[in-house]
Symmetry: C2
Subunit: 466 residues, 2 copies
């Protein structure tokens, strides 16, 4: 009944067999065939002269495709014809029409050069160490593959995070570290644990767009504190805290997104003094730590001993955003609330991903990868910054490392002109308005230093409106 | 300077070398050694007669442990002695003291028999297919390893979800499916997108404890609708919707947690009629779909065509909670809001995990695993239910499948008696109060059918207060 297979053809036998079964079903007409029994695995193997494994493989694929059904104890049967999947909805209000400015940078169009994007280009990533670590954890198997992590996350990785923080002079025991599904979940958990709708929260302007979105989602009132080249504007912070009654300030001190600036030790100390005056809790977003060049900058959490500072970090930037591993470090008194929110919103983070990250740290893979990327970024930046200045770009700060430079062009008082000009040349930029809590338009843009090395980017940056 | 290695010892040479470097540092005194240059990789390899790779491995481990520093272009140096990590905080308000009833079931004590737990015992899981799928995705490499997914999630897996839903007569195009970090994130995203603080939301009583926590976190008011053996109590639903003005009802129709009951077609139809009367949106939590026995139950989303129903699902239950892959299916008009919340709170889900899950479905691994577990659960249940009845347990409903039975014992009007008696015998139960939106204590307990097969559980269930 099933057509014979042809071993001289290049297609694998399982593919041929699956196609032959479909041909048999379609020859009978899917409607009339529905429910008909298919030969047992043993019989079909004998009939067609292939191994039983090949039959299992072919049947499994057809089950996955919904062409046949497997009924325990009964065997395989022809599936009733599925109602065709509805076509993608044409409505203009749906997802297909979503084209907000941030989204465009996450989409899957490979042709777009993400000059305004937040990640390293794909071809900068070497996945050798990562693949090796995944293979090792998979080989060790066991609970890493099947189980939730514990509420705080895998102890082995928490210990490594504590050591990492100790090297930044942030003293923290491993039970003061909670692992999260990337730094995004960490920020989300911290906001949900530490704020209530209607609260005022101090944020940097410009700052991290997803943070602003999370705060809006929580229904809090954002109060902007200008970001300077040396850190947050302390006078403005002092005045905003007094006027708003805010009790929380979120800051991205090291290699700040989007400006690339790093808070100086003096501003860091002053910031904690202002915070003490207004009893502010500070969330220190430290996700670019792996891209620092030279000696590490002073962390607020180091000066403060994690008293009023809650620190958020990540391993995603140099290695992999696909793994989604981040962390929060906080004082004992705050941990209970943080863990509760994490458990409610995700039960636990991925033990598998946490084990992989632990192996990558223990074997030096993270260090090697981060160092190589940091050196490459430094080289690109050394070439890029003078070229930008020559081409009429004004730079907000001289970045000490990292992926971003915040720039404005003398010929474009409105950055949207540049965004449109770039789009016409297949280059994705986002207007700096995205990085402002009030979405105010202006002259500034974030430029991704890695993407700027592409010849299309170089040509555009040299003469953006030409 | 570094002590010679002994090839006759069983320890790997890299371990011996790392130990020898530490011995050298400690012989000099960590304080005085700090900053001292270590031999180059080439020199140390020559001195000790090991390969350069062995030296790199030893140095990498010492860098990861914080004993030595790597400075690009300079080489390896002895690290300054780290401030000792602070000891675990003794304060009783901290995380170490957290022992709320749900948490206990997630902890890492291997000796505890989780008779009240929500998962299958570790030894029920066969990770062969999962490990194979991970290896395949790792071998294919590329963006799966390094990159965020797209906002909706990996198209390949969304297509498979759409096919899965089509087999349940839920018509959905793949662009109406959003992948999430487990069903937990799916529920969280749905709640945040569809409710505002102060809203009233209808929930099942008893129901899923994490859902109640998420709703509390969002600041909404929960209105309880009694769950019966055949589904939600429709008269109570009607009255509660009218009295509260709620616009959202969350229900776990198939293999309901904690009662094991499944909504009948008649109640499903009636539920949608009540929903239409009050213009309710319904969240249908379908995470136990893989454990159904026989023909699938009627889904609300199938009757309603995903008009007012938002469906939440998962692949975690049979396979792996470590992967964290779930999904939401919804009408086009709702997708934009859902995707926005997902992007804000996590940027994206794990493309790696999504690829692994796609491979597991395409190769039949999910089907095989789910079928084997479902058969095993059916056998256990067939033995357990009569034994429970003989031992004086009253059952809320006769489960059609799944992991749970909801039971009360004739000798314990307060389930806490049973929880304490079980704890004294190394068995973890949770009082049914955890599954009630108002946390009311009562006689009911959730029993995990898989864990009940353990001899300790059998002895306890036979004579719980003896």
């Amino acid at each position: 009944m099933i057509a014979p297979l042809d071993r001289s053809r290049p297609e694998p036998l399982a593919d041929q067999l699956a196609a032959a079964v479909i041909a048999w079903i379609e020859a009978r007409g899917a409607e009339t065939a529905a429910g008909a029994a298919l030969p047992s695995i043993r019989r079909l193997a004998a009939e067609t002269g292939v191994s039983r494994n090949t039959v299992v493989e072919a049947y499994d694929r057809l089950v996955a495709e919904g062409r046949i059904l497997s009924r325990p104890g009964v065997g395989f049967r022809v599936a009733p014809p599925a109602a065709p999947l509805p076509p993608a909805a044409p409505d203009p209000g749906g997802v297909a029409a979503v084209a907000d400015r941030v989204w465009r940078l996450y989409d899957d169009r490979p042709a777009l050069l993400r000059l305004g994007g937040g990640r390293l280009p794909d071809d900068w990533h070497d996945t050798t160490d990562l693949a090796r670590a995944i293979r090792r954890v998979t080989r060790e198997g066991g609970r890493a593959l099947i189980d939730y992590g514990t509420p705080l996350g895998e102890p082995r990785l928490r210990r490594l995070v504590a050591q990492r923080l100790a090297r930044l002079s942030v003293p923290v025991a491993e039970d003061r570290v909670m692992l999260t599904t990337g730094a995004s979940q960490a920020l989300d958990v911290v906001i949900r644990a530490l704020t209530r709708p209607g609260d005022a929260v101090l944020v940097e302007d410009p700052g991290y767009h997803n943070l602003f979105g999370l705060l809006r989602l929580q229904g809090v009132r954002m109060v902007a504190v200008p970001r300077r080249a040396d850190g947050p504007d302390l006078q403005a912070l002092d005045a905003a805290a007094a006027a708003s009654g805010a009790r929380l300030f979120v800051t991205n001190g090291v290699l700040h997104n989007p400006t690339g600036s790093t808070t100086t030790p003096q501003i860091a100390h002053g910031l904690l003094t202002v915070a003490a005056r207004h009893d502010l809790t500070i969330v220190e977003d430290d996700i670019y730590a792996d891209f620092e060049e030279g000696s590490p900058a002073v962390r607020l959490a180091a000066l403060d001993g994690l008293d009023r500072v809650v620190m958020v970090g990540s391993f995603s930037k140099p290695l992999s955003s696909a793994l989604r591993v981040g962390y929060v470090a906080a004082a004992p008194s705050r941990m209970r609330g943080l863990v509760d929110v994490k458990m409610l919103s995700s039960v636990a983070s991925s033990r598998f991903a946490e084990q992989v990250m632990a192996v990558l740290i223990e074997t030096g893979g993270l260090r090697r990868t981060a160092e190589a990327l940091t050196r490459r970024l430094a080289r690109q930046r050394a070439a890029l910054l003078p070229a930008l200045r020559r081409a009429g770009w004004r730079l907000f700060a001289e970045p000490r490392g990292g992926m971003f430079v915040w720039a404005a062009h003398e010929d474009a008082a409105d950055a949207r002109l540049l965004v449109d000009a770039a789009a016409a040349r297949g280059i994705g930029l986002v207007s700096g308005a995205v990085f402002r809590p009030g979405l105010e338009e202006g002259a500034w843009l974030r430029i991704n230093i890695a993407a700027a090395a592409d010849p299309r980017a170089r040509a555009f940056l040299k003469d953006p409106l030409g």
